[in-house]
Every structure is written in structure tokens, then in C-alpha cells.
Symmetry: C2
Subunit: 121 residues, 2 copies
DNA sequence: TCTATAACTAGTAATAATTCCTATTACTAG
DNA sequence: CTAGTAATAGGAATTATTACTAGTTATAGA
């Protein structure tokens, strides 16, 4: 993959946030550095970065959010504040259980737990 | 909620399929019975039916799919054939574990296991 | 049965999220 | 350095969904 100023900027922005930004948020942040960048470039590079294993796409309802945390993990989503928090819930034995029970080869588990966080209980 | 011919048709169509149809698929099926139905009507009624607890919305990447199975359940998604199969993987003890560990009140768990089904291994 | 009314509809326009297309640019080999 | 070419960029187009409006229909009560 060839070097690109735009891609580097996008990568840094995502890596320096703890929220799980949408493409639009990343686009607006990148515009501060590269004012004439286009949204298409943001999407394309996010996809490229994901393919390179530098990033993860998570779906919050039907909108994509991007996560620099590429370790396998899950999310707690508070319906009050919308906060999305990283947690590790699905373990190795789960994968082998699914394999055994359903003859299904697991690549990846996407889990979002929806509820109320301690701040809003 | 008042009776509506259109809503009844939509409900029957979703309840009689084992696939997890998109709004567009449901729209096309409903058109066979009610040729001049509009896509907006389909979306509005799917939302109403979900609020009534007659249906569930699941998100497959960034498109919505509808599921008559309102029991809490999970999905196996084959990356080869795109098939989405209902399974029951998340149990009661999981919910209480999350509550204990993260002080997080669980309403609902959305889990999709992505991998390869036995037909495409 | 008839009427009032509030929920509903089709159709269209708007919005939001994402992908596609074509000119431009960076890099490589000569 | 220059030409060739493949990756990249910006903007237009597409897709999915929601909002709006004017007309229609189910249903409760007179």
C-alpha cells in the first residue's frame, strides 16, 4: 500500500479517541487538518485500514463506527447515554462450543449488550 | 392501533418466512397482494409492529432485517452464503454475570457469530 | 345508519450512509 | 528527469430510510 497523507491523518485521529467515532465524525476531524478532504476518501481509507488490521468496524444499529481496538472484544451500550464501552465477554470456549454444537467455523463474534449503565440506573 | 389491511399483509408475510427479510424484500412481496402499497408504509408498519412486540429488527451490517421470532436469540451468519440462522446461545447466567461484573442492567443482547457454515466449510 | 375524527395511506421529497467513477498524483523503472 | 501505471482523491451517484402532505378509511358514538 502506497503512502497517503490522508490515510495517515485518519489513522491518527481514530487512534487518539476513546469514543467509537462514526465516519462523519472522523471526516469532520480530518477536515481540520486537511480542509478539502472528501467523505469518500474517509470511507475508502477506513475500509483499507480495516483490511490491514489497523482498525475494526462495529455496527451501532445500522450505522458503522470505527474502533482502533483490534483485539476481539464486545460492547456495552447504554440506552440512556448512548455510551459504548469496550469489554471482554466472549472467550475461547465459546467458539469451540459453537463449532461443536452447530458445525460452524467461527471467525468473529459481534456482541452488543444493550441496557443501562451504572450512572443511569 | 386501528386495523389496517396493509399492516396485516406485512405481518403475515414476515411471519411466513424463515429468512430474515429486508424492508425491500417485504415491500416486493406485499406488492403482489397490494400492488400500489408504498415503501414508506412498509417501513412505518414494520416499526409499529416492532413497538407492539410482534417483530424484531436485526442489523446485518448496515441494513435492517426483520424477524418474527421475538424470543431472545442470536444469529449465525455465514460469510460464504450470507445465511442468517437463529440459535440460542446467550443464557440467563450471562446477564447476571454482566450485572455483577460491570454494574450494567441488561435489557437485550445482540449477538451475531460470523464464520462459515457446515455447507461451505 | 350516518357522521366526526383521528389514524392511516400513497406518493414524493428529503436526508443519511455509503459506494462508484474519472481525473489526478505518487512512485518505479528506464 | 521523464514516461508509464497503478493507487488515490474528490465529488457525483446510489441505496436505505425517514419526513411530509393531501387525501382516504376504520371505528366510536349519536
Amino acid at each position: 500500500m502506497r503512502y497517503s497523507h490522508q490515510r495517515e491523518a485518519i489513522k491518527k485521529i481514530v487512534q487518539n479517541t476513546n469514543c467509537h467515532p462514526t465516519a462523519d465524525w472522523i471526516f469532520n476531524q480530518t477536515k481540520i487538518i486537511i480542509p478539502n478532504i472528501s467523505l469518500g476518501t474517509v470511507y475508502r481509507n477506513l475500509k483499507l485500514l480495516e483490511e490491514e488490521g489497523e482498525m475494526n468496524t462495529i455496527y451501532d444499529g445500522n450505522i458503522a463506527r470505527y474502533d482502533w481496538n483490534t483485539e476481539s472484544h464486545d460492547h456495552l451500550k447504554c440506552k440512556e447515554c448512548g455510551d459504548l464501552v469496550d469489554v471482554h465477554l466472549v472467550h475461547e470456549e465459546f467458539t469451540s462450543k459453537v463449532k461443536r454444537k452447530f458445525k460452524f467455523d467461527v471467525d468473529n463474534v459481534e456482541m452488543t449488550v444493550i441496557g443501562t449503565c451504572s450512572k443511569h440506573a
